[in-house]
Amino acid sequence: MATLLTRDRIAQRVARDIPEGAYVNLGIGLPTTVANYLPADKEIFLQSENGLLGMGPAPAPGEEDPELINAGKQPVTLLTGGCYFHHADSFAMMRGGHLDICVLGAFQVSAGGDLANWSTGAPGAIPAVGGAMDLAIGAKQVFVMMELLTRQGQSKLVEACTYPLTGIGCVSRVYSDHGVIDVGADGARAIELVDGLSIDDLRALTGLDIAAPTGASA
């Protein structure tokens, strides 16, 4: 029986792959929790789309400033050495390829690296995209953080996204409760599987011909 990772453990795992000095944007929702696991002794630069670089943790209660917020509109702080800038410069940081890593949630990711994370296409729902499309195509590496299966047991790692796309071929790696999987032009390749999960299990769960981790027997 496979031991699936909790959301916090996924966040921890993502944090481990972020090197010192990296410029990183953590998407709203689940990806935000990655910040909790970044090593305190390393300097990692968090960017927030609404115009700050060097984002620090949430302020102490009572210290909130409604004019110092993150992309999720929650109160944050600014580290010593951080700075503010306007929206065009902020998105130039993304679109211009200046961010090293962006961590996003997803509804679906395809083996080829397509991302669907902004709309389920449900009729009548009000669409909202925010900065998702800019982040998806801008950062040097796009990490997706998600549970592998929906509550109904369907794989969110798919051959081709059925939900509306956020970006094409933009995701480089998926961090899931079942393990870490690279995606892209060469298709999906498992990097790590959780204890008790075999590559065949993963293939069965996803219905995809996922390559085995390097060094492992297929």
Partner: protein, 223 residues
């Protein structure tokens, strides 16, 4: 002597006409020029096209403008939020039009307007629903979508300090869309916490030069 300061928000918005395109600064409530919007509601202009990152939060500012049925169309990136009930209701009732723009394209299109560009090729949104029907082009092996500038008749902006020439500095993440909207509107109206003497703003620290600002109103410190 040139003095762009006005005594009241009411005076500052008095010529906003029915059907005008109005940019409103702010990301959520940070940088939202509530006092100018309240004056705009009192003023009564209708059928407005609003350009903002969101579509109103709670019951104040842009949300109140929508609740008062003054808005025909919203151009924004992220309308749906936990507290966007006034927009949600108007949208579901079919009373308001929505042009959804990825946030970075929104910023780039506003900046392009301010800088006098005719159009830009941006990679954001390529291959998605939000680029459906738009011209695309491959340049140096990458795919781009052609997007046009977003201009406005008026911009309502919140800054921190301003002087009588219209020079502005902002405060923390309330800066957001302010500087680029100020450049993209024919008439930029700014509410500041405080009007300072000419020369009080260090020339190295001015974020929005006065050339982009037509009117300044002091509303007092509010944060």
């Amino acid at each position: 002597m040139i003095d762009k300061t006005l005594a009241s928000c009411r005076d500052a918005v008095a010529d906003i006409h029915d059907g005008a395109t109005v940019m409103i600064g702010g990301f959520g409530t940070a940088g939202m020029p509530d006092e100018l919007i309240d004056a705009l509601i009192d003023h009564g202009a209708r059928e407005l096209t609003i350009v903002n990152n969101n579509a109103g939060n709670g019951d104040t500012g842009l949300a109140a403008l929508i609740a008062n049925r003054r808005v025909r169309k919203v151009v924004c990136s992220f309308p749906r939020q936990t507290d966007s009930h006034h927009f949600d209701a108007a949208y579901h009732a079919g009373e308001i039009e929505l042009e959804l723009v990825p946030q970075g394209n929104l910023a780039a299109r506003i900046q392009a307007a301010g800088a006098g560009l005719g159009a830009i090729f941006t990679p954001t949104g390529f291959g998605t629903e939000l680029a459906a029907g738009k011209e695309t082009r491959e340049i140096d092996g990458r795919q781009y979508v052609l997007e046009y500038p977003i201009r406005a008749d008026f911009a309502l902006v919140k800054a921190w300090q301003g002087d009588r020439w219209g020079n502005l500095v902002y405060r923390k993440t309330a800066r957001n869309f302010g500087p680029i909207m100020a450049m993209a509107a024919a008439t930029t109206i700014v509410q500041v916490s405080r009007v300072v003497e000419l020369g009080a703003l260090d020339p190295e620290h001015v974020v929005t030069p006065g050339i982009f600002v037509q009117r300044v109103v002091a509303i007092g410190e509010v944060h």
